[in-house]
């Protein structure tokens, strides 16, 4: 048996935390992710399964912040489902059992890096980073956008000072650099 130690997207055993005066950027290591894409002709069955899972089907540009599984809309008939990694490490397999032939499910945990940006300067930082209309967004809004030339999701959480950013894990260092640069500039 191999004895392998998991590392975070930025390397090391523990998530990176960067603290500034008005903002804290925390690497979130605790997410399991899987995408769900409705198969053609099975859209209704997929919606029913999503409703059972999340309570409601995430509308375009929206997230459903449900516990333990949460989900957001990625594109027409496509959603991302997230859950705590501790309890849902095999999320994709579990979802496949629930959706059956209604949807194609793809493991996404290893594809994304997640940063939680929290603090009173969050809207200022977000405006320097990307083109989402952060001050018009409300809790539960989720938008895909470009940050530092990387396609990322920006999700506004219940706490009005909190956004969650999902970006490509292979470019975690670049995304982290962009976040830190923006955090310095909002001082």
């Amino acid at each position: 048996m191999h004895d392998l130690q998991p590392v975070t997207a930025l390397g090391g055993a523990d998530p990176h935390i960067d603290t500034f005066d008005h903002i804290t950027i925390t690497g979130n290591n605790g997410l399991a992710l899987a995408s769900v894409a409705a198969r053609m002709g099975h859209e209704k069955a997929c919606h029913t399964a999503l409703k059972k899972l999340l309570g409601t089907v995430p509308a375009p540009g929206k997230a459903v912040l449900h516990d333990p599984e949460a989900g957001f809309w990625m594109g027409p008939d496509q959603w991302m489902i997230g859950a705590p990694r501790e309890t849902h490490e095999l999320l994709a397999d579990a979802l496949k059992n629930k959706f059956g032939d209604a949807a194609s499910v793809t493991e996404q945990s290893g594809a994304w890096v997640c940063f939680d940006v929290i603090g009173p300067a969050m809207p200022d930082l977000c405006e320097r980073l990307c083109a989402v209309p952060i001050r018009r967004m409300v809790a539960g809004d989720a938008q895909r956008t470009m940050i530092h030339q990387l396609g990322c999701f920006v999700i506004r959480r219940d706490n009005p000072e909190h956004i969650r950013i999902l970006g490509p894990r292979a470019s975690a260092g670049s995304l982290h650099h962009a976040l830190i640069t923006a955090a310095h500039s909002v001082g």
């Binding site: 053609m40 540009g61 594109g75 027409p76």
Partner: protein, 95 residues
């Protein structure tokens, strides 16, 4: 230029990539007697109108959907934006 996405509302054109004439949806039947000629025209011949033009745009920095945008090539006015899959299905493509 602002593209009014049918699902997400007005979005800046910098989020999109132009993917060509919307006539690309009308792929010829490969079993047709005149398939070679039709594919030549499909592959190479394009109108280049000064005026209204139906175009394919890809929302690359957004929800990754393909759109059919009716745009005036002279004024950059946009009169209509539809999901390409709805247009294709209305024309009998993809069942």
């Amino acid at each position: 230029m602002i593209i009014d996405h049918p699902l997400l509302g007005p979005r800046d054109a910098s989020e999109f990539t132009y993917m060509g004439d919307a006539k690309l949806i009308d792929r010829p039947d490969w079993q047709s007697q005149t398939a070679a000629q039709e594919f030549y025209e499909y592959g190479y011949l394009r109108d280049n109108p000064a005026g209204w033009h139906e175009e394919l745009w890809f929302h690359e920095a957004g929800d990754r959907s393909w759109l059919v945008v009716t745009r005036n090539t002279v004024t950059h006015d946009i009169s209509k934006v539809e999901l390409a899959r709805d247009v294709a299905r209305a024309r009998g493509r993809s069942k």
